[in-house]
Symmetry: C2
Subunit: 104 residues, 2 copies
């Protein structure tokens, strides 16, 4: 996905606790839902000990709408009460974009 700045990134870095029942299914469902949101540009995810998910959005309003999406709200609450040991969230305005190779 070649992107043209400015756009926004939500960087979500997390560690899971011991009870991960239902987590993978919910994470998968949230990926599906995010893709349907207005202003969605892309999402990448990887987990080892730490999990990193970066989603890209047209503007801050799209991010707000995604934060407030009803099913996502429930996931956020379950995340805090059940799955996450810790997380940090960075919301950032992307100013430069580069890719290799330059043409796919």
């Amino acid at each position: 996905m070649p992107l043209t700045p400015p756009y926004y990134a939500v960087i979500f870095i997390s560690t899971l606790g011991e009870d991960t029942a239902g987590y993978a299914e919910m994470a998968e469902r949230m990926l599906e839902l995010a893709r349907l949101q207005p202003g969605f540009l892309g999402i990448e995810s990887a987990r080892e000990e730490t999990g990193i998910t970066v989603s890209f959005w047209e503007d801050l309003e799209s991010i707000r709408q995604w934060r407030d999406q009803s099913e996502h709200r429930i996931a956020q609450e379950l995340g805090q009460s059940k799955w996450y040991r810790s997380y940090e969230l960075h919301i950032a305005r992307v100013e430069r974009y580069k890719r290799f190779p330059d043409r796919y």
Copy 2:
């Protein structure tokens, strides 16, 4: 690491090719070196099929210095010629930061 915006994030998303000889050692060495750079605030990394590394920096000048660091230059060249199938790089100004739990 509690952070106070504004600061900068370098989001590096990559896929590896078939020849990964020497890659893990170089990646480890680059983590060590980045931590020694002026303006370095933190780094997180995870790889499954896709690898995501997010590093945090005080300002764009710190990012330029890290980009131009001599040993890092060599790693970048080896990355393009040998290890990476593809990558994308997003340089972003972080405007909001949140963490859970709020106190560790």
